[in-house]
Symmetry: C2
Subunit: 335 residues, 2 copies
């Protein structure tokens, strides 16, 4: 039950013996105010503990400075790292991040966007889930900018940042073949997101052109435990694969652990493994996993640069595509 604890520009003005406008101008970059007036205002503000009310400022300027980050499973290494990069870039650009967790229900991405509208966020960045078309249209109509990361949607209006998953997956086939592998497998979750499916299809397609069949297995959520289950499925086959491409590093870690500790499979001697994301753990020496590095910093930079760009929304093609970098480590022979 808050009273009126915050000090207003009015009070500062009175103490400094100037008008509210003078106070406002003092805290508005690029406004004209005399050095003497500024000094008195700053002094009074300091003494009173005055801070500009961004709620009111946002109301006036119709620009809150808020950018919504909409994300599920935010504690997984890749997501957490992306959030870190995003908040940092946003702050550098003078914006502030509002974080919305969509772990609960399925329509919660829409709910999150509604929340973004209520707080008059200047923009929303969607890291997971797919919003309904009607709600994205509502955002855009309300002048709110939208960024979709790895969503691979074909909607016009939002900025779409994607990786070339299929092309990357193709490179894995080449690597496996060079390492002398012939019995390929793909380990995926059942999440079915565009990125994951693109990796799967890209891998299968590239293998097909080389005349190699691929055993595809899918299971559960995209996490460590699913990786273990997938290893149990693939390593108990009569025809055991000698190379596995896991859709993410988390799956790969689980897969490798089960392969080594449960099935006594030597990596890379008996089995080559490749992951995706280059999470921190991939570099840990227990895994030393060959994987694709997502250009997290570039993604964040690109997204924020587009958001703060004043040139309307017509910046030509609002779609950016990055090539993930293959990081060679010891989970694949040769290299």
């Amino acid at each position: 039950m808050p009273q009126k604890p915050f000090v207003s520009a009015q009070e500062v003005a009175e103490r400094a013996g100037v008008s509210r406008s003078a106070v406002s101008r003092t805290f508005t970059p690029g406004a004209s105010v005399s050095p003497e007036t500024r000094r008195r205002v700053v002094e009074a503000a300091e003494a009173l503990g005055y801070h500009v009310n961004h709620l009111a400022r946002g109301l006036m300027r119709n620009e809150s400075g808020i950018v919504c980050l909409i994300v599920s499973e935010m504690s997984t290494p890749y997501r957490a790292n992306l959030i870190r990069a995003m908040t940092q870039q946003l702050q550098n650009a003078g914006k502030i991040a509002m974080l919305i967790n969509t772990d609960r229900s399925d329509g919660s991405v829409d709910l999150a966007l509604r929340q973004a509208i209520r707080y008059r966020a200047d923009a929303s960045i969607i890291l997971s889930g797919m919003p309904d078309r009607s709600i994205t249209q509502l955002c855009l109509k309300n002048g709110q900018r939208l960024v979709l990361i790895n969503r691979d949607d074909d909607q016009q209006g939002p900025l779409r940042i994607n990786l070339d998953d299929a092309e990357a997956a193709g490179r894995v086939v080449t690597a496996f073949v060079r390492a002398g592998c012939r019995r390929l497998a793909f380990a995926n979750s059942q999440a079915g997101t565009p990125s994951l499916m693109a990796r799967e299809h890209g891998f299968v397609a590239a293998a097909k052109t080389m005349g190699l069949p691929v055993r595809v297995e899918r299971h559960g959520p995209t996490d460590y435990e699913s990786g273990r289950v997938l290893a149990q499925r693939l390593l108990t086959l009569s025809e055991r694969p000698d190379a596995v491409f896991c859709a993410t590093d988390l799956l790969a870690c689980g897969f490798m652990d089960a392969a080594r500790h449960q099935f006594r499979v030597a990596i890379p001697d008996q089995l080559c493994v490749v992951g995706f994301d280059d999470i921190e753990q991939a570099a840990w020496s227990s895994y030393d996993l060959t994987t694709f590095a997502q250009p997290v910093e570039m993604i964040a930079r690109e997204a924020v640069a587009w958001l703060v760009n004043e040139s309307g929304q017509a910046a030509g093609d609002d779609s950016v595509r990055f090539q993930p970098n293959l990081v060679w480590r010891s989970s694949v022979r040769g290299g």
Copy 2:
């Protein structure tokens, strides 16, 4: 350069043929409005795509619904998990999280709190760093609630949530002794935060009462790489330790990897290891680390419950203490 894209209550009122107040009341829980009026308002709002402006509402009510999360190194497993739990709990309580990254400079916690004040956040939750006393006083004076997680500060006013680190550390000595270990070591970073130091001191003190000396080593930031370095230091001693308590799981993972892969030390046969935090990776079978589980969900629940609690700030003693749970795994003999 946003125009006037958002639809206001005024427009809804006109379309519904009622007054602005009627619209306001329709969206204010517990306000008196007739079913018929409500129906017409809701219909008009739906058609126009109206959403209450929380900036304006916050201005009126002097309550923004915003809670600031101030955190550094937010992509580390423990922090990321705490952020996830916090955002979830906040949303359940009808609040929204604003995330501020303080990775950059040292005074940035103060800067973050200033930002929180500017957005008139109802509360701030500090997960890392120590704010200056003057700035916390400013927050409190402005009616903003403050929660300090694992900061172990003695300030009055904020809610302080802490673990009993020292007591937990004492239990590790007992476990090591039971496992037959005699040459104890403590591996710490140079961060010097209250939690880490409490673990160190608690461990050393408990060992002393049992007449056992402890080799303490500190190095770098609190991460995986430091764990490796610490292993290099401790495992090249002429008198090699047979038990190591690492201040965090991240340090422990690095330590174990270096111990096994670089020094061919068998865990737990030749060396017992205990960590702290129970991050997800601690349960991965490459580590299977005995460690202390932080009650993350309870911490988040407690913090949010205190924040939304209407009963002034005089809820007696604003300090909560949790006992971390020792999770037994295979990095310690016996168990």
